[in-house]
């Protein structure tokens, strides 16, 4: 497993470089928006990856609520944290794309607002995990994550249910896309998904190590003849 990580890291880096090349050079220039439309190849895959990670967080939280397995709790924490990072990318690249195309940085329409609310829910989840010292924190956080996950399909399909300035979804929506653009989009999504997987993997190892060290500290306190309980 230790050897697999650097190999996968190099492969992912190469894939990200290839995906960048596809997005900037190979993908055709959109007729109305011009080159700024290429933000699409970072904005949409980041959103899909964030949704995927929030789904993993949901599944792991549910598993933790049922089985109380510490590994499920770690997976839930890690996927939420990395999901928030990707969702932050979405919330920042979106306005950068909107400014030259819509003439505004932000509008309080349903897709944008619901994405911001989703981000706030998962940031609250991370705050709860970080600052609550109660022994029940993982259970409370898992319950919050299960409810928070309900927001994900709402965000995705909000553009179906409400009149909005945001374009229709590429997958399962009414919009159409040039096959060459779709190809580049999928390559970028694959690259970002591999990247997210590796980041989650390293964050998982870090969290597990952190918990082991915390346990060791607790044990050392108990055995310490200078002040601990013997």
């Amino acid at each position: 497993m230790k050897r697999a990580f650097p190999i996968l890291g190099v492969l992912t880096a190469l894939l990200l470089i290839y995906a960048l090349y596809q997005a900037l050079v190979v993908a055709p220039t959109e007729q109305t928006m011009g080159d700024v439309q290429r933000i699409f190849y970072y904005h949409v895959p980041s959103a899909w990856t964030a949704f995927l990670l929030f789904f993993v967080n949901f599944a792991a939280s549910l598993l933790y609520l049922i089985k109380r397995k510490p590994a499920a709790d770690i997976v839930a924490l890690v996927s939420a944290e990395v999901g928030v990072v990707f969702c932050t990318v979405v919330l920042i690249t979106g306005p950068i794309w909107a400014r030259p195309v819509w003439g505004i940085w932000w509008t309080w329409d349903m897709r944008l607002t619901s994405t911001l609310v989703l981000w706030l829910i998962y940031v609250s989840y991370l705050f709860l995990r970080r600052f609550s010292s109660s022994g029940e924190t993982p259970v409370l956080a898992a319950a919050l994550a299960v409810l928070g996950a309900l927001c994900v399909p709402f965000v995705y399909f909000s553009i179906w249910f409400f009149r909005t300035q945001h374009p229709q979804p590429v997958m399962g929506g009414g919009g159409s896309i040039d096959p060459r653009m779709l190809h580049v989009l999928l390559i970028n999504w694959l690259a970002f998904s591999c990247f997210a997987f590796l980041v989650c993997w390293s964050r998982y190892r870090l969290e597990k190590l952190q918990r082991d060290v915390d346990q060791a500290h607790a044990l050392a306190s108990l055995l310490d003849p200078r002040g601990g309980v013997r």
Binding site: Y42, V89, R99, P100, L206, H217
Partner: protein
């Protein structure tokens, strides 16, 4: 429409700045943890 290159560059740069910053926090936490482990390994050592 005017050239959107500066916006395109900004969006791509911001994406990698955010990811790099997050990776930086992981690396820094890992280094801190390694120091703690070294401390724990010392005989009678406890931070």
């Amino acid at each position: 429409m005017k050239s959107g290159i500066p916006y395109l560059f900004a969006a791509y740069a911001v994406t990698w700045i955010i990811h790099s910053a997050y990776l930086g926090t992981i690396v820094s936490r890992y280094s801190q943890l390694k120091r703690e482990i070294e401390q724990l390994k010392k005989p009678g050592g406890r931070s």
